[in-house]
């Protein structure tokens, strides 16, 4: 396990160097950004602990995928591969947990660790090759693939919504809504083969429009139960609920165009950072979306006409 994490350190150092940063400087810079952004979030943003925990949980979902899990399971003895995966998630959680503890958010910290562990353990129950039914088969692939990959994550989130309603906690309800959108954004982490884009007989604008439209419709259908619950139980807050929904969907749209801006590569570190910066300042999306859209148009022109 020790050697695996040493390799990870080397891997990240290489990634920083390739992006043109000194690894030590980049690490110090990232820690500073994290601390600065966290203080900013807690000082100026409503419901910051929930958003903060949501981001932390979202980041833990990025650490694993099927091919990596298969590799770790087949390479390491017994359950060591699984232990490594869980350790990676805990490593990602550590700075968030430390910050939450400093803010005396003990219950939220405990819930965050519990949900991360539970969702990780639940995943093994559904890791077989038997196909899982999905309501998103009409427009593959992001939602069909993503739903099957992460539906085990949606169940506890819907559970949180029920708890929020039972204990009259509006903030927790909003957190659930944003968490579902964060999961949906994760669906778009998978980069398709160039041929799948080439196949479309659409112009670049039509293609991006189609991807965003399907993303918004399907994402709305997944948050609909939470949205209805929030509107029914907290009608007076309807505009706040809708504002959170709109901001969440704006993030989703931006993430989709950012994905195609980097196509056929994955979203790089700098682009990811740009999107992260928008989390405490969603108004920046007004400028960031057109920026990524323009780049996506250039990147896709090779494959679409």
């Amino acid at each position: 396990m020790k050697y695996y994490f040493q390799l990870q350190t080397i891997f990240w150092s290489r990634r920083f160097r390739e992006a043109g940063f000194n690894p030590l400087f980049a690490a110090i810079f990232l820690v500073s950004i994290f601390v600065g952004a966290s203080f900013f979030l807690f000082k100026y943003v409503d419901r910051a602990p929930y958003i903060f925990s949501g981001i932390a949980f979202f980041l833990t979902t990025l650490t694993s995928n099927k091919s990596k899990s298969d590799f770790l399971s087949s390479t390491f003895k017994d359950t060591l591969g699984k232990q490594i995966e869980l350790a990676e998630k805990m490593l990602v959680l550590t700075p968030f947990v430390v910050f939450l503890l400093c803010k005396l958010e003990f219950i939220l910290t405990g819930s965050l660790i519990l949900i991360t562990c539970t969702s990780f353990l639940m995943r093994f129950g559904f890791s077989g090759d038997k196909s899982i039914p999905t309501p998103f088969s009409k427009h593959p692939f992001e939602f069909a693939v993503g739903f099957r990959r992460l539906f085990w994550l949606l169940l506890p989130i819907y559970g949180l919504t029920c708890i929020a309603m039972m204990y009259d906690n509006y903030n927790l309800g909003v957190f659930s809504l944003l968490a579902v959108i964060a999961v949906v954004i994760n669906f778009y982490n998978e980069v398709e083969d160039e041929l799948f884009v080439w196949n479309f007989s659409k112009s670049v604008n039509q293609f991006l429009g189609y991807k965003i439209r399907i993303g918004l419709i399907y994402a709305t259908s997944l948050v609909l139960p939470i949205l209805i619950a929030l509107l029914v139980f907290y009608l007076s807050n309807w505009w706040v609920t809708l504002a959170f929904l709109v901001v969440g969907l704006a993030f989703l749209s931006t993430y989709i165009v950012a994905k195609y801006a980097a196509f056929p590569q994955r979203i790089n570190f700098v682009d990811g950072l740009v999107i992260m910066i928008c989390i405490p300042l969603p108004v920046l999306l007004i400028f960031i979306f057109p920026y990524f859209y323009g780049r996506a148009k250039n990147a896709l022109t090779v494959f679409l006409q």
């Binding site: 090759d129 088969s137 427009h139 593959p140 006409q305």
Partner: protein
């Protein structure tokens, strides 16, 4: 019809296609043969617009890519997408309605299983089915017979003949010469990125003999088998 004029392609200083001049007529099947690295797949990718190139590629239906079905040697599949959803994706991409999918499943593929769990041959058959349900005008089959069972081999040959009968333009590459003999109207031999020979059905033996001479030569004797 597809016309290639002065088509060249290079990777850095390595010229992999050199001034290719070819015309592919409707209702005809063209076999592209050559050694590994001769430029067959690069030629196909250039026609599909997946590679930048010098020269021109023209077609009677514009844009060409919207009417082209491309079967590559190793089709790509997502981890958790079923065969049925893959076919749906292919149809959505071309705005074609997917009808009677089970009746069209002539290869008897388990469409409700994840495509990534299919065997090599099944993956190829699904990819082939995917471009057939799109109802394209032009088809490129890069090694369609690779890894496919004998029954499906025969079926693929019949499919190619049917496409020809329907007036489609079909380009096939294969290392199995007999399959090309059964389907092609013309065979083009690529060698080091150039057209070494282009012959019609009556003269296929010439290409086969040329290939035997240049590609096999006396290599078997070198093994000194006893």
């Amino acid at each position: 019809m597809i016309t290639l004029s002065n088509l060249s392609k290079s990777y850095d200083s390595n010229l992999v296609l050199k001034n290719i001049q070819l015309t592919f007529q409707s209702g005809k099947v063209y076999g592209i043969v050559g050694e590994n690295g001769a430029g067959k797949t690069t030629l196909f990718k250039c026609i599909a617009g997946l590679e930048n190139y010098a020269g021109t590629i023209e077609s009677d239906l514009i844009p060409l890519k919207n009417h082209l079905g491309l079967l590559l040697t190793e089709p790509f599949y997502f981890d958790r997408i079923t065969g049925r959803e893959y076919l749906q994706l292919m149809c959505n991409a071309r705005m074609v309605e997917l009808k009677q999918v089970d009746a069209k499943n002539i290869f008897d593929l388990p469409l409700d299983q994840y495509a990534s769990t299919y065997s090599t041959g099944m993956k190829k058959k699904l990819a082939l089915l995917g471009i057939l349900v799109q109802n394209n005008q032009y088809y490129i089959f890069d090694e369609p017979y690779n890894g496919v069972d004998i029954h499906s081999n025969m079926l693929i040959t019949e499919i190619i003949l049917k496409l020809k009968q329907l007036g489609k333009t079909v380009l096939v590459s294969s290392h199995i010469f007999s399959t090309l003999r059964d389907t092609c109207d013309e065979i083009i031999l690529l060698k080091n990125g150039e057209i070494a020979q282009q012959v019609d059905a009556d003269s296929f033996d010439l290409v086969e003999n040329e290939m035997k001479k240049t590609m096999i030569g006396n290599k078997i004797e070198q093994l000194e088998l006893k």
